[in-house]
């Protein structure tokens, strides 16, 4: 590797590499960061969700309207579930978007699949958010035996 005086000087064939300023935005970078950040938060949120709903008490057998009413009567679980809904839907939609981009090769196929995906995302997030915020734990016309005990107290 030693350079000797005999090495001829050759002019550089092209101008040296200069990083070009990106013109396409950094969307994919932010989406990559989001997957990791939201993933860590979702581990805590979903493990807590599964533990409270499936492990405590009678587990899945205890889940009914009164159980949900008991949870959503508290702002703590409203915020928990709202955060879980939004983070999981964005995380999942972005994951499926990546997979569609990987495997759907025709432009039309890719466009149709991603349109369906974004439609499902919008409907699910809007519906879920509305349900959490407009939920009445003690609907007046419902039979009392189906409601949480605090409705009649």
């Amino acid at each position: 590797m030693a350079q000797t005086d005999a090495t001829p000087l050759v002019a550089s064939p092209r101008s040296p590499y200069v990083r070009r300023k990106t013109t396409r935005g950094n969307f994919e970078l932010y989406s990559w960061v989001f997957m990791r950040a939201s993933g860590v938060v979702l581990v805590a949120l979903i493990f807590g969700h599964l533990f409270v709903n499936l492990m405590v008490g009678d587990g899945v057998h205890a889940i009914d309207f009164a159980f949900v009413a008991g949870k959503w009567a508290s702002p703590f679980w409203q915020v928990w579930d709202l955060l879980m809904l939004w983070l999981a839907m964005i995380h999942g939609t972005n994951g499926v978007r990546t997979i569609i981009n990987d495997y759907a090769q025709r432009d039309l196929t890719r466009g149709v699949l991603k349109s369906l995906l974004y439609l499902a995302f919008t409907l699910t997030v809007v519906l879920g958010t509305l349900v959490i915020f407009t939920f009445d734990p003690c609907p007046p016309e419902a039979p009392a035996e189906l409601l949480a005990s605090f409705c009649t107290a």
Partner: protein, 127 residues
């Protein structure tokens, strides 16, 4: 060169198979999530409608499905943390194989804690 038993089909090792499993579990969980938001939305219709649909989650067959769903979620969760470590921890790429075996170990331990309790709730009578 390692032996390639049949033709040129690439069979990866821990890295590729964990990537495949992460995609399969991720897509499965996503479709369940869509259904799960819809069934929970029935609390806005009436207590009767919600109880009727959630009752179908409490049958033995769905109980086994829930066990599979929880296993998929637990794998995706631990493997996701492994991916973040591979990306952000300076020794991550060096230990990514070991970390996959740790992920699978944690999956077994978590399921060993979850399954007995869940299966007792599903099959254990009284309801």
């Amino acid at each position: 060169m390692p032996n390639a038993p049949a033709g040129t089909l690439y069979r990866g090792r821990e890295g590729m198979w964990s990537w495949v499993a992460h995609r399969v579990t991720g897509v499965s969980i996503f479709f369940f999530l869509l259904v799960h938001v819809l069934d929970t939305a029935l609390v806005r219709v009436s207590p009767e409608a919600y109880n009727a649909v959630i009752g179908t989650y409490q049958t033995p067959i769905m109980g086994l499905g829930e066990a599979g769903l929880v296993a998929a979620i637990v794998f995706h969760a631990f493997n996701g943390l492994r991916i973040a470590l591979v990306d952000f921890w300076s020794k991550g790429p060096q230990y990514h194989r070991v970390m996959l075996w740790v992920v699978l170990g944690l999956l077994v331990v978590t399921m060993a804690g979850f399954l007995p309790r869940h299966l007792m709730n599903v099959f254990g009578g009284g309801h």
